[in-house]
């Protein structure tokens, strides 16, 4: 194997002087926080800030275990699934492999946070980027847990489940095909795609623990950014303006799509929130359900951290447009007109 660290000499970076290490910074931060606790608590004793803090902690606490599951799966793929085995499972032609990956999303019954590290690992193992991206978009939306939750939230409209399934799957497959046609590998930062060497014997476990741990540290920070954004928006956006839309279908679709991005709800819960908005037709609610798991502020933060900014800046808006279009078409087909 080639050792990258020897290929890139870092001698120029070595400094003889002693630097402050991150460990010392951490200790100072902790001590300062402990000393300032009472001041912090009193500063946070304002209604809106307290509500925001609770939502921030809730989003982090809710999503972290799913991220942990994601990095474990990702680490297991890196260590125990040879790249050749993955490619044997998938059809040779990319155009055919994309839908297969979309349907395979059924097998990852979690929120969207788990899908990002897994998709990245699939790319590293030599799965075509378009195929991994189709999996990334499909997994959070088409898995059984989410579909059952949707059914529970819309007991009188079972067609919502079918419409959501088809709309989300179509989004994933179309984005996969679009990437296969127009996507450029250089948009994704190089380290996200760098192949890991095939591990042997005992080093497999080492690799499993190391990749899981490193992925978790990497993605965890971005999850926190996403949680912070979602909390601020949750407090800042008055939900009442959704209510004033009433029957205006086009405006409703646009507002619900934007809201899905800004609120960054867990895909297992968004159906209940959509169902709660009274006096709105089903179509905008469906748009909310299809857009949310495909792209929201939390996912955008995770994608930026995992695949790089130039990827996320292109992929996220494209996903948004495709998801809205797919949701509208699925709605027209399954909900019969504007519902």
């Amino acid at each position: 194997m080639t050792d990258v660290s020897t290929a890139e000499p870092r001698a120029t970076e070595d400094k003889p002087t002693r630097r402050i290490t991150s460990l010392e910074v951490l200790c100072v931060l902790l001590v300062v926080a402990l000393l300032g606790q009472s001041w912090l608590t009193s500063w946070l004793d304002v209604g809106s800030i307290q509500t925001g803090a609770t939502i921030f902690v809730a989003v982090c606490v809710q999503a972290l275990p799913f991220l942990v599951l994601g990095v474990l799966i990702s680490g297991a793929i890196a260590a125990f699934v040879p790249a050749t085995a993955l490619n044997r499972l998938l059809p040779k032609k990319q155009a055919a492999a994309v839908p297969v990956a979309g349907v395979a999303g059924v097998a990852l019954p979690t929120c969207e946070c788990a899908a990002v590290p897994v998709a990245r690992r699939l790319m590293q193992q030599g799965v075509p980027t378009s195929v991994a991206l189709a999996f990334l978009l499909a997994a959070p939306a088409v898995n059984p847990v989410v579909l059952v939750a949707t059914n529970v939230a819309f007991p009188n409209n079972p067609e919502m489940v079918a419409a959501r399934l088809v709309g989300s799957l179509a989004t994933a497959i179309i984005m996969g095909w679009l990437w296969a046609r127009f996507g450029k590998a250089e948009w994704i930062i190089e380290r996200a795609l760098r192949r890991l060497p095939e591990p042997q014997g005992r080093t497999r476990w080492k690799l499993f623990f190391e990749t899981s741990r490193a992925d978790l540290v990497d993605a965890g920070g971005f999850l926190v950014i996403g949680g912070l954004t979602a909390a601020v928006l949750n407090v800042a956006i008055p939900r009442s303006w959704v209510d004033t839309l009433g029957e205006q279908i086009v405006l409703g679709v646009i507002v619900m799509a934007v809201l899905a991005v800004l609120l960054a709800l867990c895909s297992e819960a968004d159906a209940f929130v959509a169902a709660s908005i009274s006096g709105m037709p089903l179509l905008p609610k469906l748009v909310f359900l299809v857009v949310g798991p495909a792209i929201d502020v939390k996912l955008f933060a995770l994608q930026t951290g995992t695949f790089g900014r130039s990827f996320a800046m292109r992929f996220a808006p494209a996903t948004f447009v495709v998801a809205v279009a797919c949701a509208v078409v699925a709605g027209l087909v399954f909900l019969g007109g504007i519902g």
């Binding site: 050792d3 020897t6 591990p199 623990f209 190391e210 990497d218 867990c266 819960a269 709660s276």
Partner: protein, 275 residues
């Protein structure tokens, strides 16, 4: 960021998850069914960090040249292939200074610091469950239609027998608005919730969550009776009374009115939310 710092951050974050799981504080943030996820996630985070620390302590490391700030520079031996595979990826390597010089990596290395935010929030601030502020932020009309999952009237199952029956707030609001069988008529109910004083009216409110507090939505019942005006926001009470039939209409945003015959202040329930 150094590996040691990363590991400590992981232990702190995992420990925070475990702490709220065992103290029961997690109920202020997520639904009860989430507990196994929190315990599992917390244990794995701590385990990953401990394994990493253990391997750094006892593992063979003569092949690593230590720079003054503890950075591992070169890994050449085949024994450490797996390490090399990971540390060859600069974002994962323990380079404090690497982050400063290699543009695209620094955001990745630095972002890990943010893990400290939820840790500090949980250990030092421990944000309370959502309350009156959150209710006033959300629109009123959501509750009733959501709770019944329907937009039309339907027949609800009969309420249990008894002089005074405990009913969940969401069930009460749904029955008041949508029950074609009028099962609440002339029944005395006991409701548990917190007080929201809003626009000259006093409401009893409860938040329901489907997954976590981010998707909380309120159920409100207007209180009508002696002594309700003295109640303050976020005070938890048990209210006993009867519904005023026909008060949960479109004009009132489907918020029913309860004629209160008894009020008692209670401590916040272990699970502040309704499912």
């Amino acid at each position: 960021m150094r590996r040691e710092t990363q590991n400590i951050l992981l232990i702190l974050a995992g420990g925070a998850l475990l702490k709220i799981s065992f103290t029961g504080a997690y109920l202020q943030y997520v639904k009860p069914a989430h507990l196994p996820w929190l315990v599992g996630g917390g244990l794995v985070m701590v385990a990953l960090a401990v394994i990493s620390i253990g391997r750094d302590l006892i593992g063979p490391r003569p092949e690593r040249a230590e720079t003054p700030d503890g950075t591992h520079e070169r890994i050449d031996t085949p024994v450490d292939q797996a390490d090399a595979a990971v540390t060859a990826d600069p974002s994962h390597a323990g380079h404090d200074h690497g982050a400063d010089h290699e543009g695209e990596h620094n955001h990745s290395a630095r972002s890990a610091w943010l893990l400290l935010l939820p840790v500090l929030a949980i250990f030092l601030i421990a944000p309370p469950a959502l309350g009156a502020d959150s209710v006033m932020r959300t629109d009123n009309s959501a509750a009733a239609s959501r709770a019944s999952g329907t937009d039309g009237r339907s027949l609800f199952p009969p309420l249990p027998q008894g002089e005074v029956i405990s009913v969940a707030m969401s069930d009460f609001a749904a029955r008041a608005a949508w029950d074609s069988g009028d099962s609440l008529k002339d029944r005395t109910v006991r409701l548990t919730g917190f007080i929201v004083a809003q626009e000259d009216a006093v409401y009893l409110a409860r938040l329901s969550i489907a997954c976590c507090a981010a998707d909380a939505f309120p159920v409100k019942v207007k209180l009508d009776g002696e002594g309700t005006s003295a109640l303050e926001n976020d005070m938890w009470v048990e209210a006993v009374g009867q519904v005023q039939m026909g008060t949960a209409t479109k004009e009132t945003d489907y918020v029913p009115t309860l004629t209160v015959t008894g009020l008692s202040q209670i401590p916040q329930p272990e699970n502040p939310y309704e499912a």
